[in-house]
Subunit: 328 residues, 2 copies
Amino acid sequence: VQVRPLHRIGIVGLGLIGGSLARRLAPTADVVGYARDPSIRAAAAAAGIQTTDSLQDATAGRDTVVLATPLPALDDILPTVASTVDAAVLTDVTSVKLPVLQAVRRLPSSVRYVGGHPMAGTEHSGFAAGSADLFDGAVWVLCLEPDTDLSAWLQLAALYTSIGCRVVPCPADEHDAALARVSALPHVLACALAAAGDGGGSLALRLAAGSFRDGTRVAATRPELIAALCDGNRWALAEVLDETVDRLRAAAAALRSGGTVAELVAEGHDGRAHWQAMVDASAAVSTRSTVDRPAAALRAMLLALGAAGGYVEQVGADGQLHMRTPGH
Amino acid sequence: VQVRPLHRIGIVGLGLIGGSLARRLAPTADVVGYARDPSIRAAAAAAGIQTTDSLQDATAGRDTVVLATPLPALDDILPTVASTVDAAVLTDVTSVKLPVLQAVRRLPSSVRYVGGHPMAGTEHSGFAAGSADLFDGAVWVLCLEPDTDLSAWLQLAALYTSIGCRVVPCPADEHDAALARVSALPHVLACALAAAGDGGGSLALRLAAGSFRDGTRVAATRPELIAALCDGNRWALAEVLDETVDRLRAAAAALRSGGTVAELVAEGHDGRAHWQAMVDASAAVSTRSTVDRPAAALRAMLLALGAAGGYVEQVGADGQLHMRTPGH
C-alpha cells in the first residue's frame, strides 16, 4: 500500500462545501474549481481560486476530483465525470452515501470512488457563506466498502487530515443509519416541536424560552434542505422515527397511568453524557499503525476504528497512521 | 381598583429563583428571606439579604409573600403560610400552576393568592447560581382566574415590571397547556433524541454535530428536575405527546411510501418563524389603558392581552398600564 500525495485537485461545485475546500487547498495545491454560474466563478476567482466553465477541465488530468454538488445534480454529471476522470481519485461530499455508491456502481468499474461526507455546515449556503477554516477540527467521513481501493482511501485521508480534519472510516450503509439518528432525526424533531409550540398559539410562543429556542433552531434551516436530508435517507430515518414514536408513546402512557417519564429521562441523560464524553477530546487515546500491512487487516482495523468512535488524525509521510479512539 | 406599591416582602425559599429575587429586591425594599438550610441563610446574609430561620417571620406582617420552594415542599408549608399571611398578597414561582391553584383553593378563602411563574432559569440551581439580573427582560406569568383579586394581581404586576419583567396574564390551565408545549415537550424530545443517538453507538455519536448538540442540550439537565417538570404537568403533556406521535408517524409513513417530510418541515419552519417574530421586540406595538375601569372589562382586556402574546411592561403610578402586543 502506497500513499502518494494528491496535488492536482478538481472541485465540481463551489457552494459552501466546495467553495470552502477550494479556498483551503488553493494556497498549497493546484486547484481548479468548476461552477456553472458565472457570478460564483467570479466570486471564487476574486478569492484567488482558479476556475473553469468547463466540467471537463475540472476533471480531466486531475489526480483528485471532488464532487461538491447537491445529490440531484450528481446523477446528471456522474456519467460525464466518469468518462473523463482517468486514474483520478473520485470523491463527493453529499450527506447520504448509499444512493451515491449505488449510482457509482453503475459506472465503469475502473473509477476509483471513495464516498465522503464532511460534518461541517452552517444554516447558510453558497460560496459567500464559506471560509478556509470551515473544516478545522471537523469530522470527515470516508466510506470504506469491501471493494474500496485502499490506496485511494488513504490518499484522501492524507489530504483531509492535512487540512485539520478527523477522518472517520465506515461503510456507506452505517453512515446513513448513523446520520438518520444524529442529523435527520434532530431536524424532524425540531420541526415537530416548532409545530407543537405554534399549535399553542401566541401565548405558548410568548412563554417559550431556552429549551424551545434551542430545540427548534434547525427548523429555521431552508425547508428544501431539510426535506432533501430526510427524504434522501428515507429508510433509515423511518426506522428511527418508529423507535422514537415508541419512546414517546411509552412516556405518554406512563403519564396517563399516574407514572413518570423518569425512564426516558434517564436514557436521554445518559445518551447526552455519552456524546459529551465523545467530544471531550482530552479523554481520547492515541494509537498508531503502519499502512504497510495486509490490505484485509488494514481494512478491518480502520472499520473497527470508526465503529468505536475513533478517527484518523494524520497520515504520516513515513506510512504511519495516527489515530484517536474515545477513552471512556 | 387601586395599585398600592408592595414594600414588605417575604421570600420563602432562597434557591435560584427565590435567591435571585431577594438579591434584586433587597436594595430597594424590606425583604426577609427564609431558608431551612443554615448554609443557604449564611450565603444570603453575605449577599446583603436579611434572613430568618422562622417560616412565620417571613410571612407574618409582610404585604407580599413569595413562595419560592419546589412544588412538593409547597404542599407542606401552605397551611402554615395561609394561617400567618394576614392580608398579604400570596404568590409562588412554580412551573405548573393548576396543582398550586387547587391546593390554594382548599385554604381559607381570605387568602389573596396570585399564581406566578418567571420564565427564567438556567440548567443550574441553588442560591449560588442566582443573580440580581436573572429576571432582566424575562417573562413572568401572573395567573388570572375569574376569582383572582384584581388589586393583588396589579400590585404584583407593578412589583415585577419594576424589576424589568414582562408580565403575562393568563389562566392557570392555559399556562400549563402552553408550558407542556414549549417547556415539557422540548425536554422530552431532547431525551428521546439523545437516546436515539446513543442507540446508534459510538459511530453515531462521533458523527453528531450541531443539530444533535442543540437538540439534546436540555437532556443534560438534572433528571429529577426534568421528571418533575413533566410529571407535574402530566395531562397536558400526554396530550401534546399524542399530537407529536401523530406528526412523526405521518412523516414515517410518507417516507416509506416514497413521499416526503416536506409537509411537517413546512409546518415546523412556519412555527419557528412565528416564534422568531414574537421575540423580535422591534415589531411590538405599544398600547395603554387605565386601571380605573370596571373590573370585568379590565380582566377581559388582560386575558385578551396574554392570549395575543402580549404583556404588561409597566404599571404607572398614575394608574396607567403600559402594554405591548406582537406586531405581526
